[in-house]
C-alpha cells in the first residue's frame, strides 16, 4: 500500500529518463525529415577510428589510475584513523572542484606559455618553449588520470578499509608471504572496490570532450568531441546514433563488470 510513495518518482523517471532515451532512439533511426532511416547507423563506420582512439585513451588512463590509485588507497586505508580522515579530505577537495577548473589548471601549468615552460626557459636561457606537452595523447591521458584519480582511490579505499584486520594476520599465519597476502587474499577481497573504481573512471574518460579539447589542443578528436560537434552543427540524428552506440557499449561493459562483483545491487554507495 505504501509503495504508492514511489509513484511520483516512477512518473518522473518514465517521463524524464525513459522517454528522452526513446527520443534518442528515434533520432538515431530517422533522417532529418523524420522518416525511418538506418543511414545514421551505417555512417557510424566512418567514426570507427575515433571510437577506437577514445577507447584506447580511456583504457590506458583507467589502467594508470588503477596502478597509481590502488597503492594510494591501500596506504590510506592502512594508516592511522585520524590520518585517514585528513587524507580522504585531501582527495575530496580536488574531486569536488569543478572538472573544468582542474583540467584548465593542468593546461595553464603545461602550456607552451605556461608556468612549467617559463621556468624551464629561464633555466635553459632560451626563448623557445622547452616542452611541447599540450596537444599530445600523453597530455590527454595525463589530464584524465589527474581528473579522475580520486574516483579510483575512494571506492578502493572504502573497500580495503572494510576488510577485517585479521585477514592479514590469518593469511600470513597460514603461510602467505607478504606478496601472497596481497595476491591471494587482499586483492580478491577488494575486487568490488576495484570494479567500481574502474567503472567510475572508465565511463567519464570515454565520454569526455572538455579534456581532449583543452589538453589535446584540438589536434585530435574523441567520441565526446564528435557528439558535441554534431550537436553544435545541428546534426542531431548522427549525434543521437553515436550516443546510442556509446551508451550500449558502456552498459554492456558495466553489466559484464557487475558479473564479477557480489550481487549487492543496492549497495552501490561508495563515496563522500
Amino acid at each position: 500500500m505504501h509503495s504508492i510513495a514511489a509513484a511520483p518518482h516512477i512518473f518522473w523517471a518514465v517521463l524524464f529518463i525513459v522517454l528522452p532515451l526513446l527520443i534518442v532512439l528515434f533520432y538515431a533511426f530517422t533522417d532529418k525529415a523524420g522518416s525511418f532511416s538506418i543511414w545514421n547507423i551505417v555512417a557510424l563506420g566512418d567514426y570507427m577510428p575515433i571510437f577506437l582512439t577514445s577507447i584506447e585513451l580511456a583504457v590506458i588512463a583507467t589502467f594508470i589510475c588503477l596502478v597509481i590509485g590502488y597503492p594510494l588507497a591501500y596506504a590510506i586505508a592502512r594508516s592511522k584513523p585520524e590520518h585517514q580522515k585528513i587524507f580522504i579530505l585531501m582527495l575530496m577537495l580536488p574531486m569536488w572542484t569543478n572538472l573544468l577548473i582542474r583540467t584548465y589548471s593542468i593546461m595553464a601549468l603545461l602550456d607552451d606559455g605556461g608556468f612549467v615552460n617559463s621556468v624551464l626557459m629561464k633555466l635553459f636561457g632560451t626563448d623557445e618553449p622547452v616542452l611541447h606537452i599540450i596537444g599530445t595523447k600523453g597530455a590527454v591521458i595525463f589530464g584524465m588520470v589527474y581528473d579522475f584519480l580520486p574516483y579510483m582511490v575512494l571506492p578502493i579505499y572504502t573497500c580495503v578499509s572494510k576488510i577485517d584486520k585479521h585477514m592479514w594476520e590469518a593469511a600470513s599465519d597460514l603461510g602467505c608471504s607478504p606478496v601472497k597476502v596481497m595476491t591471494k587474499v587482499i586483492l580478491p577481497l577488494s575486487s568490488s572496490g576495484i570494479i567500481s573504481g574502474v567503472t567510475m573512471v572508465l565511463v567519464p574518460c570515454i565520454s569526455t570532450f572538455y579534456i581532449s579539447q583543452k589538453l589535446g589542443g584540438g589536434t585530435f578528436e574523441l567520441i565526446g568531441d564528435t557528439i558535441e560537434r554534431q550537436f553544435l552543427n545541428g546534426a542531431r540524428n548522427i549525434g543521437a546514433a553515436i550516443s546510442l552506440v556509446m551508451m550500449i557499449l558502456i552498459l554492456i561493459s558495466l553489466a559484464i563488470m557487475n558479473k564479477f562483483t557480489d550481487a549487492d545491487g543496492e549497495d552501490g554507495g561508495i563515496i563522500v
Binding site: 577485517d164 585479521h166 585477514m167 594476520e169 590469518a170 593469511a171 600470513s172 599465519d173 597460514l174 603461510g175 602467505c176 608471504s177 607478504p178 601472497k180 597476502v181 591471494k184 587474499v185 580478491p188 577481497l189 575486487s191
Partner: protein, 372 residues
C-alpha cells in the same frame, strides 16, 4: 617432555604502557596450556608474539631450541584460530581449508583427501561448497580450526575461540577441542578469561595479571595451592583473610588460632589465608571455631550460598543445609582446608564478600544517587 617453545625475558609496551613485563615461560611438546587472566592482562599479546603478529620489545623467543624472534608469521610452524575466526569471505568452506595447501602447491588429489579428512574431524562433512558467511558461529569456528590444522602445525594458538558462542555450544566445543588435541597430539596454547574453561581443558594453566605470570601449574595445583591473593580470587571463590603465622602449622586469624598443614614461614610472619567456601562446615554457634551472623542466603541449586559477618569481615560459605538470615552460626574449618600464602601486592584487594550483602547494595545505591 622437551621444551618446544621458550620465552626468555619477553617485554612489550604500547604507548609507554607495559603490557608484558619480562616474562619467562616454557611450553612442552604436546601439552594443552592455557593463558588465563582478566582482559588487558597481556595474555593475548603474549599469544600474538608467539604467533608472530607482534614483536617483543625485549627478550627472545625460541622454537625447538632455535631463536625465532625475527621469523615472520608465515614461516613459523605455528597456526592460529582467531577470536572472530577470520575466514576468507571470498572463498567457500572447502577453499578456506585448502588455502594453506594451495600455497604449497600440493596436488589436487592430496588436497581433496586432506580437506575431507579435516572436515570429518571437525564434523562438517558435506559443507564443502557452502559460503562461509552462511555458517553459524559454531560452524565457522570448526572451519577455522580445520584450516589452522590442515598444514600439520606443531603448535595451535587459540585466542578466546569460544568467546562468541553461547553457553551450551561452548561446553560442547570445549570437549571437542580437548579430544581433537588428544587425537592429533600437538601443543595447544589457549587464551581465555574464563577460569572454568581453563580448569576443565588444560594440562597446564598460566595465570597472568598485569603483564606478569602469577602462577604456573596444573589445574588442581592452581585451585588448591594458589600462590597469592590474585590467583586465589580469580580461580573459584575464596575467602581471603589476614593472618599471622605463629609457627609451622599454626596460624592465627579472626582472633582464633588454627591448626593448618603449611609451614616454612618466619615466626609471626603476616600472611594471607585462603579458605574455599565449600571447605567450611556450618555448626551450632557454641561448637564453632568462629561465630558470625548470617546476612544473606541465596539458593544456588546444589547448595546455598551463605554470607556470614565475622567481626566485620564477610565470608562466603557454601552449604547444603539451609540457615535462616540474621541467625548466628558457628564455623568449623579442618586444618587441610586452610591454605597459607605469602603477602603480595594483591593482599587486601580481594576475598571480602561485603559487596554481596544487602547493606552494601544499599550503600552503593546511595553512591549512585549522589553522582547525579
Amino acid at each position: 617432555m622437551e621444551k618446544l617453545i621458550e620465552l626468555k625475558g619477553i617485554s612489550k609496551s604500547y604507548d609507554g604502557e607495559k603490557v608484558i613485563d619480562s616474562m619467562n615461560l616454557y611450553i612442552r611438546d604436546g601439552e594443552f596450556i592455557t593463558f588465563l587472566g582478566p582482559s588487558g592482562c597481556g595474555k593475548t599479546t603474549t599469544l600474538r608474539i608467539i604467533g608472530g603478529f607482534e614483536t617483543a620489545d625485549e627478550g627472545s623467543l625460541y622454537f625447538d631450541g632455535v631463536e625465532i624472534s625475527d621469523v615472520p608469521a608465515y614461516k613459523r610452524h605455528i597456526n592460529t584460530v582467531f577470536q572472530k575466526y577470520a575466514l576468507f569471505p571470498h572463498l567457500n568452506v572447502y577453499e578456506n581449508i585448502a588455502f594453506p595447501l594451495r600455497l604449497k602447491k600440493t596436488s589436487e588429489d592430496e588436497i581433496k583427501q586432506r580437506v575431507t579428512e579435516m572436515l570429518k574431524m571437525v564434523k562438517l562433512s558435506g559443507f564443502e561448497n557452502k559460503s562461509v558467511s552462511t555458517l553459524s558461529g559454531g560452524q565457522q569456528q570448526r572451519v577455522a580450526i580445520a584450516r589452522a590444522l590442515i598444514s600439520h602445525p606443531k603448535v595451535l594458538l587459540l585466542d578466546e575461540p569460544l568467546g562468541a558462542l553461547d553457553l551450551k555450544l561452548r561446553k560442547d566445543m570445549q570437549n571437542e577441542l580437548k579430544s581433537i588435541q588428544q587425537e592429533i597430539g600437538i601443543t595447544f596454547i589457549y587464551v581465555t578469561h574464563d577460569q572454568e574453561e581453563a580448569l576443565s581443558m588444560s594440562d597446564t594453566v598460566v595465570v597472568i595479571a598485569d603483564g606478569q605470570i602469577q602462577q604456573i601449574g596444573t589445574p588442581t595445583d592452581i585451585y588448591n595451592e594458589p600462590k597469592n591473593a590474585f590467583v586465589a580470587d580469580f580461580i573459584g571463590e575464596s575467602n581471603i583473610v589476614d593472618g599471622i603465622m605463629l609457627e609451622d602449622k599454626r596460624v592465627r586469624f579472626s582472633s582464633h588460632v588454627f591448626d593448618c598443614v603449611d609451614g616454612g614461614f618466619a615466626e609471626n610472619e603476616p600472611v594471607d589465608v585462603v579458605i574455599r567456601p565449600e571447605d567450611v562446615d556450618v555448626v551450632a554457634p557454641e561448637k564453632g571455631m568462629l561465630t558470625g551472623k548470617v546476612t544473606g542466603v541465596t539458593f544456588k541449586g546444589v547448595h546455598y550460598e551463605i554470607i556470614v559477618d565475622i567481626k566485620g569481615f564477610k565470608w562466603m560459605i557454601q552449604s547444603t543445609d539451609y540457615v535462616a538470615p540474621d541467625s548466628f552460626i558457628g564455623l568449623y574449618i579442618e586444618p587441610d582446608a586452610i591454605h597459607i600464602m605469602k603477602k603480595s601486592k594483591y593482599s587486601g584487594m580481594f576475598g571480602d564478600y561485603s559487596s554481596f550483602s544487602d547493606e552494601m547494595d544499599y550503600i552503593s545505591d546511595a553512591d549512585a544517587v549522589e553522582e547525579f
